[in-house]
């Protein structure tokens, strides 16, 4: 896979993240997450083709099954089951979110992070984009009010770290693979158990109702 297609795929991920930032409807951001993880599996599959390392194949299958199919389906089912209100409110209105996303991407491409993005000189533009992805997904968590969209935000954040790892030449390393697997495992538990608990106690998945624990 030459650099051009990699850039093209990364562009798709970038768009999905931006879209989930702005999208009013919650289901949109879940579908966005699905597309994102699909692209990640393609990338890992590509690095498997290049290196022929069997464990990579195992991870490709795992991520494909969990992130692309299970997670979105599960969240959509959860939304239907709890008749969660469709609109996922955010703290800032859309133009302001756009401005912040733009500034974050500019920061990621700036001179400050130059050493970070030239770990592998060839992937310079890719790494810069991946870094901006990390910052934007971090901002996504801060901006969203619903509990479900916060989880989506955290998962996108985790996806962008994985992408950055892949492009920074860590495909082979066992650490990255273990990290991904364990992360998936953790988030399955959290989303299943906790979401139902919150819903049982708070009646809605809106985080803003949970503010009585203050000094």
């Amino acid at each position: 896979m030459n650099i051009l297609t990699l850039q093209y795929l990364l562009g798709v991920i970038f768009l999905t993240v931006v879209f989930s930032n702005i999208a009013k409807k919650k289901s949109a951001s879940i579908i966005g997450y699905g597309v994102q993880s699909m692209v990640v599996t393609i990338l890992i599959f590509d690095s498997y083709l290049k290196t022929g390392n069997l464990s990579l194949l195992f991870i490709v299958l795992l991520t494909f099954v969990v992130k692309v199919i299970l997670a979105p389906l599960f969240s959509l089912r959860l939304m239907k089951q709890h008749q969660v209100v469709f609109s996922a409110p955010t703290y800032l209105n859309t133009p302001l979110t756009f401005i912040i996303i733009a500034t974050l991407t500019a920061v990621a491409h700036s001179q400050k992070f130059y050493p970070l993005t030239t770990i592998i000189p060839a992937h310079q533009s890719l790494l810069a984009l991946a870094l901006s992805l990390i910052l934007i997904s971090f901002f996504l968590i801060v901006n969203r009010k619903g509990a479900l969209s916060q989880i989506i935000g955290v998962l996108t954040f985790e996806n962008s770290i994985v992408i950055f790892g892949l492009f920074a030449g860590l495909e082979q390393s066992v650490a990255l693979q273990i990290g991904i697997i364990f992360d998936i495992f953790v988030w399955i538990i959290i989303s299943t158990v906790f979401i139902s608990m919150i819903y049982k106690h708070f009646g809605s998945l809106d985080v803003t109702s949970m503010i009585d624990l203050r000094d």
């Binding site: 390392n53 985790e158 770290i161 066992v174 106690h201």
Partner: protein
């Protein structure tokens, strides 16, 4: 070898509790037995490390820092388990909590212990990261044990903030790995030693960024100020023994991982960068907490903020370097002992007064005389009044700091004074005064006081006489740090 036995025994304990759900107090017996076994094992490990130095095998590598942490976890572990036996009997008597929940508590507790032991002794950063992630999970469920809406909210906040922190930590570890993976092709697990040896190839700027990510990531776990927000609500809503464990054991464990990464960054770009960052965070934490404590109205949050302040003091100690490191290590040991005894005493008060608000708690000296005495000694020790050891470590940290950071040390001293006033205001309001009529005086049960007396006893002995093997371990760690 002992470490495998410890972790194995904990996992085994949690399995047995799950399987033999029928028997009445299987959970209690197994957890006590296992924690005693773990204490003996970690004592053996500590003695071995003191005599022969660090050793590693399979997935584990135990150095002197790890040995000290194991000792702390084991001691706090035994005491809290003993305390929680009686604590939950009382809670069940007042039917605040059902027996299934208590079984869940002991299962999660042993998982929590095994995760902590793994985190401290694992030889690869990724394994420690997974272990810390494990602790977050287990404690999240423990916090939401009471199944009340506030407990759920506290658990949710704890979960979200800590997982973001750990993701930052994960990203930081990845950055450390980047130059290393290209070297060794076989894709084996990258250990701390591998990282340390070829840390010199690390690009200085990347190691700086990586250390920032790691510090902020694991700093959320330790609870330094900008990332401390989950602590007060988590400690208040969690069952009391867990509060003692979180602040007594989990805080130092998370801190050791930051220290290990600091070692690597120090070899690449020298200690000054790491030290400045630590001092910065330490300073903000202490100053922030010393103001907030004055305006609190809940004594559990008071203890939470006090552990944030002590975390700040420990970071400061490591930030000042040289004599400060030995003092900071001692401060960690003393803080774990005293803070857990304070938490357990606050548990007694909660059992008696049924409310954590400072306004409702009066005349503890009349209602629970022994707990009041333990609480006062704990308060005097934690705020660093001289006869106890923590004053000495505070002074040693200050002497290390006065040389090249005089203004920082003066600010710290003034804010510790302010902290003393805040803490003292609340404690004297609680201890003295008339007994509210609804509360009948008399200690609940002797088993609820012995753990605190045990902890304070160890603390007082340690503040005057440090056993040789511990002295040796401390020196090894102090030497290994710049």
């Amino acid at each position: 070898m002992e470490i495998i036995f410890i972790i194995g025994s904990y996992i085994l304990a949690s399995l047995t509790i799950i399987l033999f759900r029928r028997q009445r107090n299987i959970a209690k017996v197994t957890s006590v037995v296992v924690s005693i076994f773990a204490f003996i094992e970690s004592m053996k490990v500590a003695l071995k490390v003191a005599s022969t130095g660090a050793y590693s095998f399979m997935f584990f590598s135990i150095d002197s820092l790890g040995a000290i942490m194991m000792l702390i976890i084991a001691v706090i572990g035994i005491v809290t388990t003993i305390y929680s036996l009686q604590y939950f009997i009382q809670e069940k008597a007042k039917n605040i909590i059902g027996s299934t929940r208590i079984k869940q508590y002991f299962v999660l507790l042993s998982l929590f212990f095994s995760a902590m032991f793994l985190a401290v002794t694992s030889n690869s950063p990724i394994l420690s990261w997974i272990a810390i992630e494990g602790t977050t999970l287990s404690t999240a469920f423990l916090i939401s044990l009471y199944n009340k809406s506030s407990a759920i909210e506290a658990a949710w906040k704890y979960l979200i903030i800590n997982s973001i922190g750990l993701l930052l930590g994960f990203f930081g570890t990845l950055l450390y790995f980047i130059p290393v993976t290209s070297l060794l092709e076989n894709g084996g697990l990258i250990t701390w030693q591998v990282l340390a040896t070829n840390a010199v190839h690390l690009d200085p700027l990347i190691s700086k960024i990586a250390f920032i990510f790691v510090l902020i990531g694991y700093g959320t776990k330790v609870g330094l100020v900008p990332m401390h927000t989950w602590k007060p609500s988590a400690y208040t809503k969690a069952p009391t023994p867990l509060g003692a464990l979180l602040s007594g054991a989990l805080l130092p464990v998370a801190f050791t991982i930051i220290l290990r990464f600091k070692l690597i960054t120090d070899t690449t770009i020298g200690p000054i960068f790491g030290q400045n960052l630590l001092i910065g965070f330490g300073l903000i934490s202490i100053v922030f907490v010393s103001f907030v404590i004055l305006a609190l109205n809940n004594y559990k949050r008071l203890l939470a903020y006090s552990s944030i302040e002590n975390a700040g003091m420990i970071t400061l100690g490591f930030g000042f370097g040289k004599a400060g490191i030995m003092a900071a290590l001692l401060h960690t040991i003393y803080h774990s002992l005293v803070k857990s005894s304070l938490f357990l005493s606050s548990g007694n008060i909660l059992l008696k007064y049924h409310s954590a608000r400072l306004k409702d708690v009066r005349g503890v000296m009349k209602v629970l005389p022994l707990t009041a005495i333990c609480f006062t000694i704990g308060f005097l020790a934690i705020t660093g009044t001289p006869p106890f050891g923590m004053f000495l470590t505070k002074i040693l940290i200050m002497t290390a700091g006065i040389k090249n950071y005089p203004i920082v040390s003066v600010i710290i001293l003034l804010s510790t004074a302010l902290l003393f006033i805040g803490f003292f205001k609340h404690t004297s309001a609680m201890i003295f005064g008339e007994k509210p009529e609804g509360v009948q005086s008399g200690e609940i049960s002797i088993w609820l006081v012995i753990p605190q007396i045990l902890l304070l006893g160890i603390f007082i002995i340690l503040s005057f006489y440090i056993p040789p093997f511990l002295q040796k371990l401390l020196n090894d760690v102090a030497v290994s740090f710049p």
